[in-house]
């Protein structure tokens, strides 16, 4: 079945530490890939997206993600986390085709310790 998996429900990191959030997808072909961030009570903000080309994608707020076709993964990284990065992060994929439906993972809640 087609799916998007974020295996980590909750992650806690110390401020200044590096961060990697995992995302795996299960689809027949490479979809469009996205990472969104949501602060409590807020809407969704796009961090970055991937369609084709360079597999290392740079986004806003110092985030980057790497697409690995062989692993069907699109992991999000940040070299040094700030307290303001505490939020929920969603990986999403869009199937290329007539509907372009966006399918979300279940999210990873990031807590940042001082």
């Amino acid at each position: 079945a087609q799916s998007v998996t974020q295996p980590d429900i909750h992650i806690t990191v110390s401020e200044g530490a590096s961060l990697e959030l995992r995302c795996n997808y299960s689809y027949g072909a490479t979809p469009y890939l996205f990472w969104y961030v949501q602060s409590p009570g807020q809407g969704l903000q796009l961090l970055l997206k991937y369609f084709s080309g360079d597999t290392l994608v740079q986004g806003i707020k110092g985030f980057e993600a790497e697409f690995k076709r062989s692993q069907s993964s699109f992991n999000l990284r940040k070299p040094s986390v700030h307290w303001s990065d505490a939020a929920e992060y969603f990986c999403a994929v869009a199937l290329r085709g007539a509907t372009n439906k966006l399918i979300f993972g279940t999210g990873t809640l990031l807590a940042v310790q001082p």
Partner: protein, 117 residues
């Protein structure tokens, strides 16, 4: 630019009541979507539309109806509200103008927080 506008932002319904969540976009996007967000579940697709007059079910359509009479508007109707429909609802629209150059994306509304009691 208004983008995607959702109204109302908050609503409390009693069981069995009906209501319509409004969604309007001013970007001339053909594709529109309704999602619900529940804690620990991510966002689930309720209904979507690929253009005026065309709608289809998503992952969790039961208890909801939609219509798309114009490109701009995509209202979501709850006919008989149930506690299980307590959620945050997001409307979105999308464009795919130039896939080869990555000119594509989704725009989300700010959400409607609905409580059914």
């Amino acid at each position: 630019n208004a983008g995607v506008t959702q109204t109302p932002k908050f609503r409390i319904l009693k069981i069995g009541q009906s209501m319509t969540l409004q969604c309007t976009q001013d970007m001339n996007h053909n594709y529109m979507y309704w999602y619900r967000q529940d804690p620990g579940m991510g966002l689930k697709l309720i209904y979507y539309s690929v253009g005026a007059g065309i709608t289809d079910k998503g992952e969790v359509p039961n208890g909801y109806n939609v219509s798309r009479s114009t490109t701009e508007d995509f209202p979501l109707r709850l006919e008989l509200a149930a506690p299980s429909q307590t959620s945050v609802y997001f409307c979105a629209s999308s464009y795919f103008r130039d896939n080869l150059k990555g000119n594509y994306g989704y725009t989300f509304g700010s959400g409607t927080r609905l409580t059914v009691v």
